[in-house]
Symmetry: C2
Subunit: 141 residues, 2 copies
Amino acid sequence: MTANSATDLLREHNLRPTRQRMALAALLFDGTARHVTAESLHDQVKDMGITLSLATIYNTLHQFTNVGLLKEIKGIGDAKWFDTNIDQHHHFFDISNDHLIDIPASSITISHLPASPDGKVIDGVDVIVRLSDKSPDKSSG
Amino acid sequence: MTANSATDLLREHNLRPTRQRMALAALLFDGTARHVTAESLHDQVKDMGITLSLATIYNTLHQFTNVGLLKEIKGIGDAKWFDTNIDQHHHFFDISNDHLIDIPASSITISHLPASPDGKVIDGVDVIVRLSDKSPDKSSG
DNA sequence: ACAATCTTTACAATCATTCTAAACTACTTG
DNA sequence: CAAGTAGTTTAGAATGATTGTAAAGATTGT
């Protein structure tokens, strides 16, 4: 993502194109799906030689989420994760290295979901498929 | 659950039947499925006129989980939840009041799950169906 | 009862996150 | 471009959930 398109992107969403938001937008919206936590993003910008306060990272992640540029992923580990893939989808979560892999919503079929209780509507369905390392002792050795 | 059966239950799992663990076992294993956090359990025992330190609640929840008496529920709200239903199952999570409702695993059919990446095996599948209040303005009035 | 071991507890420490108020930056208008 | 205003960033304090620590207390086997 170029500096210009980052500017446009931010403006389209009524966010001032500040140095900080430009840097984060450049990192996040390069076309590849990214899964980040505030801490991991903080480390990534640090590696680029840019220093942003953690509070700004949190603020920006929330702002990007509010305007629909990011999606928060519920239920992964201890920290909050954000996803640049804003389509409805699910996740593999590799517990051995805290790595996330997207699963398109269309790749999973969920049927026979019970009816919601009276007065309630389904707000969303999150599926997390936990992965662990295949034990080398089993199944083929 | 009677005091005697709580004692037996604890002994069967190599846990000394202390006053604290007896109280918590009595509360938790009365036959109905319960969803608790450390804080909510702490409040419940307080209501019974018993005072236990929060640290003990945490310790006990973890011990009960380690011996298979409880199951930790991943991905709900900000706190860790524990479930007396140790069968494989899923959850409705009512975001308006942080209330959980079990969904038996057999009530949901998940098909076409993609293959796990090389070297990885599926450790478990968690489905959380988020519920919110039906808006009174929509759909029938 | 005694010693050995396991538990509980108060309190400090930690981790992720949010709050606060002051310093700073971007945008608009002249 | 200068000034004013509104939006942003930041360091550091505060919060909330959880874990660690070390000392005091309870349970068990003999």
